[in-house]
Each structure stands twice: as C-alpha cells, then as structure tokens.
C-alpha cells in the first residue's frame, strides 16, 4: 500500500563496526531498507540488536563503517561535519529514552536550543518555543526546569524540541522506555497524530511490540545487527 510513496530515507548495505578495545563488535551488518515519506516505521529487536545504531546513523549522529544512507536523495556520508550538523538541526528531530534535556535550562530554553544553533534571534526563539510547547500541551510549564516535570512531560518537551525546526523526519529511540504504560501509550499516540496530521515521517525504536503493532504502518525487526523481518515494507 505504500508503494506509491517515494522514499525519504534509503539505506543500502549499512554496516557499523565498533572497536571496543581489541574486540570488534558488529553493531549493524549489511542493512538495506527504504522508508517511504510520511510513513510511521517501527523498529523492534532485543537490546544490542543494533536498533539505536541504525537510528543514530539515520540521524546523522554517527557514520557507517560501510554502506550508504540517502535522505531526500542526499548522501549523508558525503556531507561535511558542518553540513551534517545542519542536517541534524533542520531535517531531523530526535527523541531519546532518557529525554536528554539540559537540566539547567527551562523547558522553553530546551525547546529553543536547536533554534539557537540555527541562528534564530532570541525573541523569535522564545516565541517559537512557546508555540511548540503549547502544541504538545505544556504551555503552562514553559518556565519549569526538567526536574520539576514528570517523565511524560519531559518527553513531550523533548518532542517539542525535536519539532521546533519543523523537520520532516522524527526519530524516536525507545521514547517510552522510562515511562509507565499509560504515559507510553499517550506518547506513541502523540507521535502517531503528528505522523497523520503533519505527515511527518516517524521512525520509532521500541521493544514494546504491542505499541508498534497498534500504531505503526510498517515494522522491521533487527536481530544481531541484521534485518530479520520486514512487515509491510515495500
């Protein structure tokens, strides 16, 4: 059913090898996949199966040992450090299991952080951060610091931060790992809404297969760094 959609992310022969001292760890082995624009992809797999590594490679935080990733038709591997930084701030938004908010900054300041590096003026930063916080339902908590917020609220602040630059791709690395099941569901539903309403391509890494089955259009399963199963993939 997704065949008609053009791919936004294309990975080919992705391999990542980490050198842990003298031991070489194969984190990802020859993964080839194509993610259609506007889809909601779930990635499952046990810990250490390479889910996060794949997400980091797509997010431009890490570089593959071999293989290529194309986003919007552009090869990430050919980008300079500077271009990669621009890609991270403009084209993708990332959220993490541990939220990764800066504890000394308020919610609004955290949300405005990507805009800071984009060179947006302070006044506009503040305005846009508030707008996005309103959208995630945290307008009243803008001046609170992360530790004054609940886990679900913190993750929503992180989502607001990921969205503030209006990226087309949202990468979520175990976003529900630190949340109770009710809040987890809320967060994934929120991601699903974003995917539907704004046609943002969402890639969700999770080991909660139930959630993925419920919300995702597509799913892949990783096992020992290799693609074990595709579900509904083109």
């Amino acid at each position: 059913m997704m065949k008609d959609f053009p791919s936004i992310i294309e990975a080919e022969g992705l391999t990542k090898v980490y050198a842990m001292g003298k031991v070489r760890v194969m984190a990802l082995e020859d993964v080839t996949l194509s993610i259609p624009r506007g889809s909601f992809l779930g990635i499952t797999g046990p810990s250490g199966s390479g889910k996060s590594t794949l997400l980091n490679l797509i997010g431009g935080l890490d570089t593959p040992t071999s293989g290529t990733i194309r986003v919007h038709g552009k090869f990430l591997s050919r980008m300079s450090n500077e271009e990669l930084a621009h890609y991270r701030r403009a084209d993708v938004g990332m959220i993490f299991q541990s939220f990764n908010l800066i504890s000394s900054l308020t919610a609004a300041e955290n949300v405005a952080l990507p805009l800071l590096f984009a060179g947006v003026a302070k006044r506009e930063r503040r305005q846009r951060a508030r707008d996005v916080l309103n959208k995630v339902g945290l307008g009243s908590r803008a001046e609170h610091r992360p530790l004054e917020l609940s886990g679900g609220e913190q993750q929503r602040v992180a989502i607001a931060r990921a969205l503030v630059n209006r990226p087309e791709i949202l990468l979520a690395d175990e976003p529900t790992g630190n949340l109770d099941s009710r809040t987890s569901k809320e967060i994934v539903r929120f991601l699903s809404d974003l995917n539907k309403e704004r046609s943002i391509t969402v890639v969700l890494v999770s080991h909660e297969e139930g959630l993925i089955r419920e919300y995702c259009h597509l799913a892949i399963h990783l096992q020992d760094g290799a693609l074990a199963m595709k579900d509904g993939m083109p």
Partner: protein, 450 residues
C-alpha cells in the same frame, strides 16, 4: 549561532558555576594585576626621569671636564678622551669658557663653583657646599622653586635654599622662612696666624690657620628637591649669585681633590657646564670641545643607554608578571576541562540538536575569553589599586626625608588596553585544548543511556 548568543551562552554557563568561575578569574586577576603593576612601575620610573629631564632642559646641557676630573668621576664610554701627559694638559680657565661660548648653539657657559660653608637658622646649623649660580640660571627650569622667587640680580645678598635642607634645619612651614635672614659662615685662610719666618709652624700650633667669617643672606626662594637626586648640574642645597660670592672670603676649592687635579697647581675649573639652545647642538658642540682636549658628558648620550637599561628592567619585571599569568592560564585549562567532563552529556545533546563542532568550539572559546576579559579588567583595577597603595606608602616614607611626591607608576593607554587584550589572548590560548576536546565529544557516546 549569533555573536550575542555566544556571549549570552558563555555568560550563563559561567554563572552556573559561580565559585569556580570566580576562583579561576581571580587567578587571572592576580596574574594581570602583577604584570600591569610591574610594567607600570618600569614605565613610571622611565617617564619620571625623562619627563623631569626634558622639563628641566637637562638634555640641553653638556658638562666639560679636564681629563683628571673625568677619570675621578668615573665617567667613561666612547667619548672618553685619551689620557694625556701633564705637559699637554689643558686647563679649564676663563679663556676656554669664552671660546666655548662662541660656538654655535651655545647659550651660556658657567663653571661649577662650590665652596664649603655652614648655614645657621635659629639654633640649627648644617654644613653644606654652597653652589654659585647666576640669577639667569636660577630663573631657568633647571631649578624648580616651590615658593618664593629667584634672586633678581647677580649681586644681591640673597640665596635660594632647598626644602630638604630646611627640613634638616628644623623648618616645618617652608613659606615662613621666605624673606628671613639666614647666616652663612665660610672658612678662609687666616694669614695673621702665620709666622712668615717659619711656615712650618703653619699646621703645628694648637690652632689651624683658618678663620671663620659670618655673613647674612636673605632667603628669597625655596627649591624643590629633585626626586631622583636631581641633575648633575645642581649638586647643592644652597645657591647664591656670583656677585655675592665674590664678596665672601672663602677657600678657593671645595675639596682637596681639586688641588690634586690641577697639574702644576694651576688654577682652573674642574667642571664647566655648557647650556645649549636646543638638544640638537649636543653632538656638534661636544665634538668641538673634545677637539680642544677636554672630556665631555651629555645626559643625551647617557639617556640612550638608560633607555636600553629600562628595556631590560621592563623585560625582567614583565617576566615576573608572566609567571603569574602562566599559572593563571593553567587554572583556566583546568576549569575548562572540568567543565567539559561535567557537561559531557550536555555537549552531546547540543550536537544532537544541530550544534556543529565549530559551535561547540566557539562556546568554549567564548567562555575562556570571558574569564580572560573579566580577569583582565579586574586585574587592571587591582594593579592600579596596588600601585596607588604602594605609591602612597613609599611617598609617605619619602616625605619624611624631604623628597617631594613622586608618581612611581605610569599607566599609559596602551598598557590598559594591552593588559585586557593580553588577558583575553592568554585565556583563548588556554581554551584551545579544552575547546578542541569539547568539539571532539562523540554524541553517540555522550547520549548512551545504558
């Protein structure tokens, strides 16, 4: 990222760790303070000397010596004349004075005449060498009068006395002695004591063949004591006009050396001062006088050497200050590295949301330079404060010795701006390693949650 954001960012980061920032900055403050103090002191001394020399027109003077006087004074250098035998010895007499006076650029020639005397004011007596100085010179900038006036003619029985001698004479309110009479006693040969038939009795009796004569002089001016020993031209605390000097019975020499110096016991001056209309005549006139067989000394020559000396002095002082700066910069490196370790995850987050390596580097550079800027400005303030303090303490001490207020420190604009710029520069240099290290933080490692 915008410039203002870098400043904002680094400021709030530094504010987060107030104590550590304060301590690190304090290190820079001490370093810059020491450096600034040292350089300001070197500059101050230099300025003091060159300013007062210029102001007193001391660069316009040449001193002329006979060869023997030259060697006695230990003044040498390239201009030192060759040793001459007694036969070819030249004398500084009035004929020579007249000859020098005719040279181009020469304004005035006057011999350095001084004689021993005792001055008494009320109950206090001091022994001094009185210097004969024309009224014209007394009115020139060579003498700095703190009150009163120079004597108006070369013949009046007036004198100018230094404030330090007045202090020694127990005077507290200097102005109160203006117009007052002061007693000057001279020594002269008393020929009535000498038996012309037996000159060997001259120094054998109970009484030396000298007599003491008392004169009254009016104090018209009070000279300021020079902070740096004053010019070589004025080596006395009491100055009287030449006309008045002629009327005094006195010994024809100020010191026994004068007798040794004069070959064949011929009378001549041991030292003559030449005043020029401008420092640019120093070289030609000096050359001409040396051709006549005399030794010369011009402050102008010495000043070049003096400048080299100051350069070395400044260098040594700056080196001492530099040690403090090096220590301070190590403090900056330490603080920044600590900060990176603490903010490891934060750096990872910033990178994940789109900070480039350059952004991270700049954030740390700005933090370092902020420490440098604060340290530089406050250090400058501290240096200035300390210098004011030292100045007051030292001057309070010197005031007791009758020395006028001396500004020991000099803060030229370049030093103030340079100190701050230097502090920033050093901090930036200290920030290189931490900044590079921060930029190298791998976001994947920094954000790993397990």
């Amino acid at each position: 990222m915008k410039l203002i954001d870098y400043i904002d960012q680094s400021f709030s980061n530094l504010k987060r760790r107030k104590l550590r920032t304060a301590l690190t900055t304090f290190g820079v403050v001490i370093g810059i303070g020491a450096l600034v103090c040292m350089i300001a002191y070197g500059k101050g001394i230099q300025k003091n000397i060159s300013d007062s020399f210029t102001q007193m027109e001391l660069f316009n003077y040449i001193s002329v010596f006979t060869e023997s006087a030259l060697s006695r004074l230990g003044i040498g250098g390239e201009r030192r004349i060759k040793a001459q035998g007694a036969d070819s010895a030249v004398f500084l007499d009035d004929a020579v004075l007249k000859e020098i006076e005719r040279m181009r650029g020469v304004e005035m020639v006057f011999a350095d005449v001084r004689f021993p005397a005792a001055v008494r004011l009320d109950e206090n007596e001091e022994f001094v060498l009185i210097q004969v100085l024309s009224s014209e010179l007394t009115a020139s900038p060579v003498i700095k009068l703190r009150s009163g006036t120079p004597y108006s003619s070369d013949d009046e029985n007036s004198l100018v006395i230094s404030d330090s001698l007045l202090t020694r004479l127990g005077v507290k309110d200097f102005d109160s002695v203006l117009g007052q009479e002061i007693s000057v006693s001279t020594l002269s040969f008393d020929f009535s004591q000498v038996d012309p038939m037996d000159l060997s009795s001259l120094f054998q009796g109970d009484r030396l063949p000298f007599s003491r004569d008392d004169y009254r002089f009016k104090i018209v001016g009070i000279a300021e004591r020079m902070g740096f020993g004053g010019p070589a031209l004025l080596r006395s605390d009491v100055f009287i006009p030449p006309g008045a000097s002629e009327g005094l019975k006195k010994l024809p020499f100020s010191n026994l050396w004068d007798l040794f110096q004069s070959p064949g016991m011929r009378r001549g001056y041991s030292l003559v001062n030449v005043k020029l209309s401008s420092p640019r005549f120093v070289d030609p006139v000096q050359e001409e006088i040396e051709k006549m067989g005399f030794g010369t000394f011009a402050l102008m020559d010495q000043f070049e050497e003096l400048k080299r000396g100051f350069l070395i002095l400044n260098g040594v002082l700056a080196a001492v200050g530099m040690i403090a700066i090096v220590v301070a910069s190590l403090g900056i490196v330490n603080t920044m590295v600590m900060s990176i370790l603490e903010r490891y995850a934060e750096i990872g987050i910033m990178k994940a949301v789109g900070a480039s390596d350059k952004d991270i580097k700049k954030i740390f550079f700005f933090e370092a330079s902020m420490i440098g800027f604060l340290g530089g400005v406050l250090g400058l303030g501290l240096g200035w404060l300390v210098s004011v303090l030292i100045n007051h303490v030292v001057n309070a001490f010197l005031a007791g010795e009758g020395v006028p207020f001396i500004q020991f420190f000099n803060f030229p604009l370049w030093l103030c701006l340079g100190a701050v710029a230097f502090a920033i520069l050093v901090s930036l240099a200290a920030g290189i390693y931490p900044a590079v290290r921060a930029a190298r933080v791998d976001p994947v490692v920094a954000l790993r949650h397990d």
